[in-house]
Assembly symmetry: C2
Homo-oligomer: 235 residues x 2
Amino acid sequence: MFHSMSSFEDSYQRPIVSVDLAIFALTAAGLEVLLARRGGAPFAGAWALPGGWIHVDEDEDLEAAARRVLRDKTGVATPYLEQVGVYGSAARDPRGWSLSVTYMALISLDAAALQQGGNVIDVAWSPINGEAVAEPLAFDHAAILKAAIARLRNKVEYSTLPVHLLPEAFTLGELQAVYERLLGRSLDKSAFRKRMAEVDFIEPIEGEMRRASNRPAQLYRLKQARTTVFFDRTI
Amino acid sequence: MFHSMSSFEDSYQRPIVSVDLAIFALTAAGLEVLLARRGGAPFAGAWALPGGWIHVDEDEDLEAAARRVLRDKTGVATPYLEQVGVYGSAARDPRGWSLSVTYMALISLDAAALQQGGNVIDVAWSPINGEAVAEPLAFDHAAILKAAIARLRNKVEYSTLPVHLLPEAFTLGELQAVYERLLGRSLDKSAFRKRMAEVDFIEPIEGEMRRASNRPAQLYRLKQARTTVFFDRTI
DNA sequence: CTAAGTTAGTTGAAACTTTACACTAAGGGG
DNA sequence: CCCCTTAGTGTAAAGTTTCAACTAACTTAG
């Protein structure tokens, strides 16, 4: 916040700062991340995490900047948003010492309406394979994405975070399926339900059921929007 | 990483970026954090987390900048260092839209040799009481410190992180005492030892014992420096 | 030389949790 | 109206944690 010669504070060269997002959704194919194809240099034509500069006169704070990027690319206004970290070095951007403040967002696919525009010539979902995506990514975005995937996968083990990949109303079976797809292993039904009941973060929607050619299932919703609860054991 | 009109990229006003550190150590009084008293405006005379600008021509990356600040203030070269987050907004610094990249460091008190200099008129350890420090802090450093304390306290529950508050050689009794002081509750000796053995992150130093007027205790060291292991249950 | 005091390190029974799996429930489709 | 499927619950066996007591090894006091 201060340096060794405060009268020189504005003569220090400032790094470039961007806000970049790893926006995750579950599709039929599995976990996918939203990528944007760059229209201009550097890395013109390459895929990258969607992002943008901080608009000093428009963004109140970092999270507002992240929400603006998310809204511009997906049309989604209030998803789960979490800071993953900052990546900064002299080498990561040919234009100079730069800094990427990275957020991850979890959205329900049915809420997204992809948007192009700006300096981006294409926007698309890309399936995640292990800890990466098939396309080579601009800058150090492959490393950033890897960190975001690790964070997401890790939190699945001990939190209610995956609920944000589902639409507002969902059944316990659907929630369990989300956990199982993210973890890559199957879970015991009764243990899963006990854990979810214990942390008390969802509530049944009175009288609403998911109907199919079998016993109907109770629909649930999040108790307080945007809350994540942590278990004290792994799931 | 890119914005809506790339040819304007340099006309966007860049935020101010600093790297600030919450440096923790355990003293006889308990958990303390290192504070620096500001010599110049803004907040001249106020206590703040030690920090500095990124030196674009000197720091290779963010962590190098954090290590430089740590070395300058404490003389410590290779402690445990972890990024806590970025705090950025239009309002947090009167000089304009600014960004604080915050790290927390855990050091063993006996390794530190406090250093003044630069734009700082005093450096001192301040005891942590609950989730704050007695002194009012400059900028939003109280909120940043609160987040760092929460992160530390939380990680004590399920990781081997507290080991970094001890000197290189320590006994299991000393390690348990660190956990107990941070958690504010006592732990069962046999359960504690079982957990530590299970995650296999320390090793006995052959033939070295802590001697006192009682049965001598085996000294241990970290197996690989700077590694933190996570338990899959709370301690 | 020995007894008392202190902390190190181990052991085991009882209480509690988790796991695996089987069971009952409720619908639609043939 | 039987069969199939998925929802939701129950329970015995296996595994973990807790609590507390035990043995070990040293110093100091007498």
